[in-house]
Amino acid sequence: MTGTPLRLVLVDDDVLVRSGLRVILEGEADLTVVGDAGTGREALEVAARSDPDVVLMDVRMPDMDGIAATAELVARDPQRPRVLVLTTFEDDDYLFRSLQAGASGFALKRSDPDELVDAIRVVARGTSLVLPDLTRRLIASHVPGRTRGAAALPDLTAREADVLRLVAGGLSNAEIAARLHLSRETVKTHVSGVLLKLGARDRTQAVIAAYESGFMAL
């Protein structure tokens, strides 16, 4: 981790949620809140102005919801900022749609502050899925059932296919390295290769692609 703190933008239509989050996150040395917004549209302005690393995005908001705002942010620049969706309930239908729109992961608003802070760091680093089990279950249950067929994905090497399978299984780079007896650097290279071939900007998008293509099946 570098010395400069991660720049965050908080987006939620409730002032109380925003002010609470701000105090909680400002307490961490490696995080700084550079802006906040109460609507999706406002979020786009604030993000353009303050160059955040991660946007914490509520889903349901007046005047452009979190899904549309996420899609717009991703369309502007696929690499920065990354979007972490904040949700009240884990079985929210909107949740999957926000992942599909390009969010890198989601966290529950009720989660422990340490977990939340952790999720932000994971999203910024991109070396693992956030809430791997929940994310996998959410994606698997929302992608319409496909018959298994690895051919549907662009030509991954055998190693890359192994790596993708483990990524979709929720393993972090370190865990994959241990499982496949590879160095972390090699795993990182393979993951980058997979993302490039799938046209995915991060692991979450790669997992969605893996399920949508039928490469991963229930």
């Binding site: 409730d14 002010s19 105090v23 307490g27 109460g38 609507t39 406002e42 007046p62 309930f89």
Partner: protein, 433 residues
Amino acid sequence: MSPTSYWHGPGTAAESVAQLRAVLAAARPGWPGRAVYALTSLPLGAAYLGLFAGLVASAVAVVYGVGVVLVLLLLGATRGVAGMERRLARHLLGVDVPDAQRVRDQRGVVRRVRRLVLGADTWRAVGWLGARVLLAAGTLATLLFGGAAVVALGWEVDWNAVTALPLLALVAAVAGGTLAVVDLHVRLAARVAARLLGAAPEQRIAELQQSTRRLADRNRLARDLHDTIGHALTASLLQATAARRTLTPAGDRPLQPDFARQALGHIETNTRTALAELDRVLSVLRTDEEAAAGGSFAAPSLADLEGLLAGLRDGGLPVALVLDGLADDGADDVPPALQELVYRVVQEGTTNVLRHAGCPLTVVQVVHSGGVLLARVCNERASQLDSRPGPGGGRGLAGLRERTAAAGGTLTAEPTPTGGFELCVTLPVTAAA
């Protein structure tokens, strides 16, 4: 093998019954079932003929005023007999007929009588018993004719060495033909039973409608809980977490007792509103439980507004309710769907005031005039130090705007020139809405 393995003794009577049942079950849709059905149809047909005679007689007696009770009793008996007929048809003919709704499930004598007399299934049951009488007559006639033919062939004709064989064949043919015609009757009965004893289309539609309504009610309740209590608890949780951090010394983090004090105030208000909403939802659920098969959660109406605002007043919001042009007994000329929508608008508006502006003076106005229903939630300048003007409405507002548009109305939400905020909805009131 010893003989005892064939004879189980009286101790295993249950086993024997089970075996008998298995035999019957195996034979059910087959000819033994139909044969039993044909045989029972003779005495039952006679009994139903009696029932019909009774119905006609009591219908005549209605003229003299004494027959009404008799007619009701006989109709009730008909429905009862139809229940038995359903079981017979299921067991002996293998026809799949569901049980009918019971008149007893209706509440109140008047509804029961209405259901008994006007229910299509009652008259279909009457029709079925009529069909049974006709079929029984047909079966009887067939058996008598066939029997007579066999008797005539046996006694009236000269049997000798030459005629014996063809005559025997003729008797067999007549007997076989008779049984085939009887079987035809039973098969016909099976067809008709499915029509007259099965679920009436209107019953199926009613059941479908009821389950759809329940699902919609449940979804609405879930959405309400999500938007109100889920939301209030989340905000409270984050405020509490933040407050605890600001009061916990750690590293170079400054203590912020002011933030903590404010946070506690928010938590107080939020929790109070959430409890008020929980109270309402629970009372709705309880009423629903009491209404038993009534089928739907009561939607909040204009009459519930006072209760809603009372909860907010307890939470510290000075709010007044002004009603105009509405009937005193709960505005029965405004359709329930519009009443609920207005309730939701007021609920959203006042909650947003608490959320964004603290506890400023607030007025809720509902006016019904000239076919237009207007509801307004208007608050004075924010009293809360850290508050900001609302961002054009809370999360529920988008949904309310959609519902308003669907009802042909308009919804506006904007700051007032004096620094307050106004949420306003106008809805056309038509009887059909």
